[in-house]
């Protein structure tokens, strides 16, 4: 057979994968290798697969992903810092047939918006929360977040996080999983193809939970990197994340359909765990 050139393969009929049409063609402002881009794309792909582009309303946070409305071709609402779950509650209650999701970082969800997060989860609003946890305040220049690992260096803790004065890394996902009205809680990551596929399945499930009428809140944590503020290359940051962050925040489903998965939540003891 004659030699097959690349131009013979790159034809519309041979297409296997391309960026979904739910995403716009704008160039994302994220740093090279940031997990936000992948997570945006997964949300967009799920919206396309479920065919809910005209029925989805997203609520964007304050933080790196504040400009998410530039990248997704759906209706979006900007919220005040940390207040995205409160806005999403209002939207969902006024328009119960719409698919409502919030997309928040760890500074927005676990620090400034803790009250809104905990109470919307406690009320069991039928919304989806996508929580991107990179353990640092990315947009403002790498300050310590509640989720920063113990001993990890940040601008505001240059000698590393001291758990005696600054507290332990906040496991907000496990906290939320213990609330009875929360339906689905999972922790995923997007740094390898296998993890991306799992994360997509989780996000899809979180959106599907909004349409079967059983209610309950779905919460998807994406453990991500912040290579600029961790002062690493993207590949090194992903490796560092595998070696350190995953020990503190193990991946997996924590709660499925109101059932806490076995062994996923244990009481943390200062003397035993650290």
């Amino acid at each position: 057979m004659a030699e097959l050139t690349i131009n013979d393969i790159i034809k519309e009929e041979n297409l296997v994968y391309k960026k979904t049409k739910v995403m716009t063609d704008n160039v994302m402002h994220y740093c090279p290798g940031c997990g936000h881009g992948t997570t945006h794309r997964l949300v967009a792909e799920v919206i396309e697969e479920l065919g809910i582009q005209d029925k989805t309303i997203g609520v964007t946070p304050v933080g790196c992903s504040v400009l998410m409305y530039n990248y997704l071709d759906i209706d979006m609402q900007e919220a005040a810092h940390g207040r995205a779950p409160a806005i999403a509650t209002a939207i969902k209650r006024v328009m119960p047939d719409k698919f409502v999701f919030t997309y928040q970082g760890d500074g927005d969800l676990a620090a400034i918006g803790t009250a809104e997060t905990i109470h919307s989860c406690n009320r069991g609003e039928n919304i989806t929360i996508i929580f991107v946890n990179n353990g640092i305040y990315g947009m403002t220049g790498g300050q310590m977040a509640p989720t920063t690992l113990s001993g990890m260096k940040a601008v505001t803790c240059p000698r590393g996080r001291d758990v005696n004065t600054m507290g332990y890394p906040l496991h907000i996902t496990e906290l939320i999983a213990q609330l009875p009205n929360v339906r689905f809680v999972t922790r995923q990551s997007v740094h390898t193809p296998a993890n991306v596929r799992k994360a997509k399945a989780a996000i899809r499930r979180a959106f599907e939970n909004q349409k079967d009428g059983k209610g309950g809140l779905s919460f998807v944590e994406i453990v991500s990197n912040c290579n600029s503020n961790w002062k690493m290359t993207a590949v090194d940051a992903n490796k560092w994340m595998e070696e350190n962050t995953f020990k503190e925040y193990p991946l997996g489903d924590i709660k499925i359909d109101w059932e806490i998965q076995e062994g996923k939540i244990s009481l943390r003891n200062r003397k035993l765990d650290y």
Binding site: M1, L4, I6, D8, I9, I10, K11, N14, L15, V16, Y17, K18, K19, T20, M23, V27, M28, Y30, C31, P32, G33, C34, G35, H36, G37, T38, R41, V190, H191, T192, P193, V196, R197, T233, A234, V235, N238
Partner: protein, 75 residues
């Protein structure tokens, strides 16, 4: 036996050269170019097009969604 040949098309102007796709590729097809794009990033390209199997691993981890994947079956 039927052989699978794949190819990727990279939107070089939007690629930020983060090299996450390089590690995701099971066949070691991709590499960063010596040339830079308009933003000054070394964009990703197919160093070894013969080896590509069109698995789309690079495309699904690409944070900027700049990779399209094509696949064809060769007898």
């Amino acid at each position: 036996m039927a052989k699978i040949r794949g190819a990727v098309k990279v939107d070089t102007e939007k690629c930020k050269g983060c090299s996450v796709c390089l590690g995701a590729c099971p066949m070691g097809v991709l590499d960063l170019a010596k040339e830079v794009n308009g933003k000054g990033y070394n964009y990703c390209y197919m160093k070894d097009p013969e080896k590509c199997i069109g698995c789309a691993s690079c495309a699904i981890v690409c944070p900027d969604g700049v990779i399209s994947v094509y696949k064809v079956k060769v007898d």
